[in-house]
Symmetry: C2
Subunit: 239 residues, 2 copies
């Protein structure tokens, strides 16, 4: 289990897609990074045809921006987009919690407990990259237990986009490290309480959003405001 979040359908342009997606959600490729088809193809040893297909899939996922006749770039979500994505994510994940609670069994309990243990281990070891990745995988794994492939696809997509969003608006890492909240969700599920599980999930996602985009509006500020901050410096420089 070393593959990327969306590795389920690795068929079409698979390797390039998977690697790029993982690199983007890992924040190894920050928003705005140019993704020229030539260079990427050279890196992977394939031609532009393959890269194009991968980039188009990533664009459909909202992780890459492709304007016509322009070099593709890693998407830079706006604050509005961020809100929209989290809104949909909360809706989807509430449904996941309800469905999984209905289908609950001992196997689910064991798998989730093991996953949370892994999260804890990564956190204790100070491996922030793994911590973030595992936090995302928790949600995808849970969605998988709903037995609904379309729900898995959508949850995978919104979770990926949320990782990207946190890399724009959130503090560097450790924003998603709410292992305790994952435990709370597990407990509600184990108790067979669908409503409480859905509420716990909703609360958790809301907290992720608050931690990520709640406080400051770090990115996409007003140009005028920025220049105003720099004017005093200019005055000094002139002197």
């Amino acid at each position: 289990m070393q593959r990327g979040i969306g590795a389920s359908s690795a068929g079409r342009g698979g390797r390039v897609y998977t690697v790029l997606q993982q690199a983007i959600v890992d924040q190894a490729l920050p928003p705005g990074t140019r993704l020229p088809e030539d260079s990427i193809g050279a890196q992977f040893g394939v031609s532009r045809t393959i890269v194009r297909a991968a980039l188009q899939r990533l664009a459909a996922d909202g992780l890459v921006e492709m304007k016509v006749k322009r070099t593709a770039t890693v998407a830079r979500p706006s604050l509005e987009e961020a809100r929209a994505v989290f809104e949909v994510r909360r809706c989807l994940e509430r449904e996941v919690a309800r469905l999984v609670a209905e289908k609950w069994n001992d196997g689910f309990a064991a798998r989730l407990a093991a996953h949370i243990a892994e999260e804890q281990q990564a956190a204790d070891g100070g491996d922030s990259k793994a911590t973030v990745r595992l936090a995302a995988e928790f949600h995808v794994k849970l969605a998988g237990m709903s037995g609904n492939p379309l729900l898995v696809r959508y949850v995978t997509e919104v979770v990926s986009r949320c990782s990207l969003i946190l890399s724009v608006f959130g503090r560097p890492h450790q924003s998603e490290c709410a292992i305790g909240e994952h435990r709370t969700i597990l407990e509600a599920l184990a108790a067979g309480d669908a409503a409480r599980a859905a509420a716990a999930m909703d609360h958790h996602v809301a907290l992720v959003e608050r931690r990520g985009v709640g406080g400051e509006t770090a990115a996409e500020p007003d140009i005028g405001e920025i220049l105003a901050r720099y004017l005093p410096l200019a005055a000094v420089a002139d002197a």
Copy 2:
């Protein structure tokens, strides 16, 4: 306003994508219909590259099946898939109802009333094709009022897939002609009752599903003849 449901992002491989999508949701291209890149490219006067991009997008939307080294075909949803799609659709559209109820204003009321009147007119005129198309557009239009672009995209996708599903399991047409149910939703929204609107929507989608699942399938017609009928629409969409 003659464009296809998913015409919002007509940028990449736009014309071919739009026409094929419309033809599929209109059930003019039944499930299982072969979609060879050559023939389609010839019809549209473009090369396989363009057709490929369009087919890939349609495959991502779940409307087309593409296995490696095999001719693409119009997707033939299984009963399980159908259930999964409707499950997600209910979840998404409940959220749409809630959000639209919150943002309700007189403009929304007028636009929805006009749309329902159009539906009624098509139904009275016996235009079953227009009736089905307008029924789908009602949901997409409503989603647009949520102000959440991602929600619009997802609703558009599930609604399209539901049209395809109905063409497999439902009676030929008129399965979705529940204009009265659309009116009930509008009334709940106009009353400012978000919970009732969500419930009405949930009930409506459940009824669409119930009416849809239970029939048989049809035969395979000629692609060229069908696409020729759709080319004029493409010209209009481009203008």
